[in-house]
Symmetry: C2
Subunit: 570 residues, 2 copies
C-alpha cells in the first residue's frame, strides 16, 4: 500500500512508498504518527502547516467484520490538540482499492478558489469548483454525481467547513450515496476547508490493488468463525441500531437532559429506539443499514418522513439524545430534521447538541424549541452570526454568549452519557488525548476490559471502583479498533485480533504486542498534545463534581490525581 | 495593613490580618500568590471558584514617585492563565487609606441581582443595583456620584463585564472622577461581572491608616532626590504623554498597521503625539494629566472635542495605534471616540483594536471604517451578536469569524509594537505568563536591563542579539514595579528601589534580594499556569516568522528553544 501526498499550494501530488517506519501503521496509528512526525505542534490548525490525513485500516476489503472505517487526522481547531475522527462510508474502502493506505493533504492555495480533487490510481485532478461554494453536502454530492456518475464515493464539506468553523465535519458518502456518515469530531471539516478542498471524489475502479493476504485460508477461517459469533452478540444493534441505548440510559438515570441537568427525560418514550423502529417500519424506511462495505452489524438506518421520503440516515443515539432530551425536544421528526440539517451544513451533531444547549442557556433559543434550533443551523449557510457562534462549538459559543455551564473537556462537547452515572465514560472524557470523546474509551453498560476472568474488578457502571483500570483498557482497545480500521462495535477478542493481523500480514502479533501497540498510539497522541502546549487536565467541569444528577443523585468523584493513573499506565 | 475578604454568595465580609507568609507581599506579588494558593487552577474563570483581588503596593500614599497603581488579579477568562492587570486611578490609594493592602472577592450570588459594594473602614454594604444594569461606565459613575458625592472613588464594569465577555475591563475612576483608567487586560471585568459586582465605591475617608514609615527621614531624602532625577528624564512623557512613541515607532518601522501587515502608516502624521498635543492645546484640553495620586510623570491627558467638551482621557499610545494605524483609521477624533466608547462599554482598547482588525479581515467592517468600529462597540450595550463576538477578544472572534491571521499569544492580542522590529517586545509576548503583554517586559527603544556597564550586550532594538538577556531582566524589573505598586514608567534604579523598600518597611532589601523577589513572582505565575494546564509555548504566531514587515523587511527569528531560556533563568 502507498501514500498519496497532495500539496494544495503547488497543486502537485506524489504517490509514495510507505517509509519502513510506517509499514505496520494504519488508521489512527498512522494518522497520529504522521501528525506527530510532520505537523508543527504549535501551528495554527487552520494554517498552511497543518495537514489532514485520510487513512484506512489493514483489513480494508477483506472478510474481517466491518473493515471499512476511515480515520481522519489533523491538529484540531476545536481542541488545539491531535485528533483522529472516525467515520463509516465508502471512502476508506475506495482509497484501499486504489492501493493506498493514506491520503495526506498539505498546504493552502494562495488563490481564493474552492477545489474538488478527483483521485484515481495514477493521478489527481484539481478542479476549480466555484459552483459548489456555499452548498450543503447533499447538494454538493448530487452535483458531483450528476457530473461524474453515481458510483463515485465522496468526501466533502458543507458551508461550515468552508467558513472554517470548529464544529465542521468531513462528510463521507455511504453505500447509498448519501453524505450521512461524518468524521464529525474536532473540526476536521474546517481543516479541509482551510485547504480549500470542497470535495474529494473517488471514482469506482476496476483494478483493485489490495496487499495480498499472507495466509488466506487461515484468515478466511478465522473471520468466518468470528462473524458467526459476532452477529448474534450484536442483536440489540442489528435490530434497533444505536438508539437501543436511549431507554437503557434513561432507566439508569444517565440520559443527558436539559444540558446535563437531569439524567432522565419525561418524553423519553417519544425518542426511544423502539419508537424509531416503529416509525421507520410504518413509513417504509430501513431500521438497519450498513454504514460501510463489509459491515455485518448494520447499526445505521434510513429515516423517512411521513410521506416516506428520505430524510436522513445514520440517525443515531448521540444525535438523538444531544439534540433531543438534552434540548428538551421530544419530537423524532424534528430531531431527524436537525440531524439532516447538521449533515447538510457539515457540522457535528454531538458538538451542535452541546452548543445549542449553550444557546438555550443564553436565551438565544428557548428550551425545547426545535424550530429555533433548525433556524440556527440553516443560518450557517448564510453566515448568520448566531449560527457561526454555535458552529464554532459549545466552548467558544459559551465564551461569546457568557454561559458558564458547558459540558466539555479540552474544548470538545460531551457525548450523550452523563459521567455521573456512566462513570467510565467520565474517565474517558477526562483522560483521552482527544478531549471528551466516547469512542476513545466507550464504557457503555456491561463493557469490561481484557481481564475477563475478573469482571467484578471493573465495578458497576455507576461506581468509581475499577474505572481507572477500565478506562485505560478501553482506551487501548479503542485505539486498536481505530488503528486497524474496523468498526469499534466489533470490539474484538484480542487473541482473535492478534491472530487475524498475523494471518493478514504475517506480523506475528500476540496479546502483549497488541497492548504495546495501543499504548504507543496513545503515547504518540499525548506527546503531540504536550508539544502543542496542552497539558492533560484529567478533569471534568466542576458541576459534575458539585451537582447531584437527578433522579439517581450521583456525582462524579474521580479527581485529577486519580484519573492521571489512566495515562501513567500507557 | 489588612485584607478585606468579601463573599458574594453569603454577602459576608471579613477584615483579616495578613498571614505572616504574605507580610512582604503587595501588588502583583500578592495577587499572584493568593491566586496560586487559593484558586483552583483548573476552575472555570467565570465560576464560583475564581477570585478577584485588588491590591495596592507598599509605597501607596508616600512620596515615592507614582505610588498609587492598582493590581487586579484573577484567573483570566481570556488566557485561561493567571493575570495581573495594572491600573492607575484613585482606588489603590483609597484602599490604602482604609488600612487595606488588598480586597479579595469570592464566590457568586445565587440570585440574579447586580450589586454595588460600598466599602468603608469597618464595613461593606451590599447594595442591590438593578438601576445600573446595562449602563456604561460613565453613566454608572455619574449615577453613583449623584447619590454618594463626587469624592468617591469607584471601580466598575460596563455592559461587557456584565455579559462576561473576555475583553471586559474593570474601570477605575481617575483624579477627575472619570472612569478612564482601566485594568484592561485579561478580562478582569468579566470576572467581576461573574460575581455580580457592578461597582465598588470607596468613599473618601478622613482617618487614614497607612503603616508608619520605618525610617521617615531617610525615605524622604531618598525619594526627593530620586524625583529630581526622574522628572527631567521623563520629559517625552511629560509633554506628549505616551503618544510621543507614535512617530518613533513609525520611523523605525514597527508601528502596527493593517493588522500587523506593515510597520509604517501613511497617515501617521494625523495620529502622532505632536498632533494630539496641538489638537488638545488648541481646543483647551490638557495635554498631560496625572493618572493617580502622587504621579509625577503625568503621561495621561484629557482630550476634548471641537467644542472643547470632554471626550476621553488616558488617550494613549496603545489605544491610538491599535485602533488607528492598525485599522487604517487616520482620524484622531474618531480614535478618541473609540477610546471613549471602549472605556464606557468597559472593554480593553488593546484587545478591541486586535479584535476589530479580525472583524475587518472577515469583512464585517471595512478597513478604515471608524463609524463601523464605533457601531460594533456601541452594540455591546444591546448584546448585538457581532459586538459580543469582538468583545470576546481577538482570538475567539477569529474562531467565530473564520480568520487565521491573529496577532496573539496565549489568546491575548498584541500590544502596539510589531515584534519583528521591537524584537525585545516579541520576547516578552512569547514568554510572559500573562500572554502578549508589553507591560510585563517593556522593551521600548533604548531600554536595557540592569547590566548598565554593558549596554551593547542587549543589542540594538531590531537585533535578536541580547534579547534573551533583555527579556528576562525586563520581566523581572516589571514584576517589581507591579509588585511594589508604582508606575512602571518610574523604571527605577534597583539600588534606589532596594534602599527605598528598606527605608519604608525595614525589610533590608538589596539588589540580589530584589532579583530573587522578581523571580519568585514569575515562578509563581508560571506555576499557576502549568497547574491550569497551560504550557508556555514561547512562540509567536507563524506569520511573524514567515512574513517580512515592510518597510524594514524584518522577520522575527527567535524560536521556542531559544526563548525558553528567558524562563529557565527564573
Amino acid at each position: 500500500m502507498k501514500f498519496l501526498r497532495i500539496n494544495m499550494n503547488k497543486k502537485s501530488y506524489k504517490f509514495e512508498n510507505l517509509k519502513s517506519d510506517y509499514s505496520m501503521l494504519a488508521g489512527r496509528a498512522l494518522t497520529s504518527k504522521i501528525i506527530l512526525d510532520e505537523v508543527e505542534p504549535t501551528c495554527n490548525p487552520l494554517g498552511a502547516k497543518n495537514k489532514i490525513i485520510f487513512a484506512n485500516g489493514i483489513f480494508v476489503g477483506t472478510s474481517f467484520p466491518c473493515p471499512g472505517r476511515l480515520s481522519v487526522g489533523a491538529k484540531s481547531p476545536l481542541t488545539g490538540g491531535i485528533k483522529e475522527s472516525n467515520s463509516g462510508g465508502v471512502a476508506a474502502t475506495r482509497i484501499g482499492q486504489l492501493g493506498l493506505r493514506a491520503i495526506i493533504i498539505e498546504e493552502i492555495p494562495e488563490e481564493d478558489e474552492l477545489y474538488t480533487l478527483i483521485i484515481s490510481k495514477s493521478k489527481v485532478e484539481f478542479v476549480k469548483s466555484p459552483e459548489l461554494k456555499g452548498n450543503g453536502n447533499y447538494e454538493t454530492v448530487a452535483n458531483l454525481m450528476n457530473k461524474r456518475g453515481n458510483k463515485i464515493a465522496t468526501l466533502s464539506i458543507g458551508p461550515a467547513g468552508e467558513q472554517l468553523l470548529a464544529a465542521a465535519t468531513v462528510a463521507v458518502s455511504d453505500l447509498f450515496g448519501n453524505p450521512a456518515r461524518h468524521a464529525g469530531r474536532g473540526g476536521m471539516g474546517a481543516v479541509l476547508g482551510s485547504k480549500k478542498v470542497k470535495a474529494i471524489v473517488l471514482p469506482k475502479t476496476s483494478e483493485i490493488e489490495y496487499d495480498p493476504i499472507k495466509s488466506p485460508e487461515e484468515f478466511k477461517k478465522l473471520t468466518t468463525e468470528y462473524n458467526k459469533i459476532l452477529i448474534p452478540k450484536k442483536r440489540g444493534l442489528t435490530v434497533y441500531g444505536t438508539s437501543a441505548l436511549v431507554r437503557i440510559a434513561d432507566e439508569i438515570g444517565g440520559l443527558p437532559t436539559k444540558n446535563f441537568r437531569m439524567g432522565s427525560f419525561d418524553q423519553m418514550d417519544n425518542i426511544s429506539g423502539e419508537r424509531i423502529y416503529d416509525t421507520i417500519i410504518s413509513r417504509g424506511g430501513r431500521p438497519t443499514e450498513a454504514c460501510s462495505p463489509g459491515c455485518v452489524i448494520r447499526c445505521s438506518n434510513r429515516y423517512v418522513d411521513k410521506e416516506g421520503e428520505y430524510l436522513t440516515s445514520g440517525f443515531e443515539y448521540e444525535t438523538i439524545v444531544l439534540n433531543g432530551s438534552n434540548l428538551l425536544i421530544g419530537d423524532l421528526d424534528t430531531i431527524a430534521q436537525i440531524d439532516r440539517t447538521c449533515d447538510d451544513m457539515g457540522v457535528d451533531t454531538i458538538e451542535m447538541g452541546n452548543a445549542m444547549a449553550v444557546a438555550m442557556e443564553a436565551g438565544l433559543v428557548k428550551w425545547g424549541d426545535g424550530k429555533g434550533v433548525l433556524a440556527l443551523l440553516r443560518g450557517i449557510a448564510e453566515g448568520v452570526m448566531e449560527s457561526r457562534i454555535v458552529a464554532s462549538g459549545a466552548s467558544t459559543a459559551a465564551k461569546v454568549l457568557g454561559v458558564t455551564r458547558v459540558p466539555e473537556c479540552m474544548g470538545q462537547g460531551f457525548p450523550a452519557y452523563d459521567p455521573r452515572v456512566f462513570k467510565g465514560m467520565g474517565v474517558t472524557y477526562a483522560t483521552s488525548p482527544m478531549g471528551a470523546d466516547h469512542t476513545s474509551g466507550p464504557a457503555i453498560p456491561g463493557r469490561i476490559g481484557w481481564d475477563t476472568d475478573n469482571p467484578e474488578s471493573y465495578g458497576d457502571l455507576k461506581e468509581s471502583k475499577g474505572k481507572i483500570k477500565l478506562g485505560r483498557e478501553l482506551e487501548i482497545i479503542a485505539s486498536l479498533c481505530d488503528a486497524f480500521g474496523f468498526c469499534y462495535f466489533v470490539w474484538p477478542d484480542l487473541e482473535f485480533l492478534a491472530e487475524a493481523i498475523t494471518a493478514r500480514y504475517g506480523w506475528n502479533f500476540d496479546f502483549d504486542r497488541l497492548i504495546a501497540y495501543g499504548k504507543m498510539i496513545l503515547l504518540n497522541e499525548h506527546e503531540f498534545n504536550a508539544r502543542a502546549g496542552i497539558l492533560q487536565k484529567n478533569l471534568l467541569p466542576s458541576f459534575f463534581y458539585d451537582e447531584e444528577l437527578p433522579p439517581t443523585n450521583q456525582k462524579f468523584d474521580l479527581k485529577p490525581e486519580k484519573l492521571k493513573e489512566v495515562i501513567d499506565y500507557f
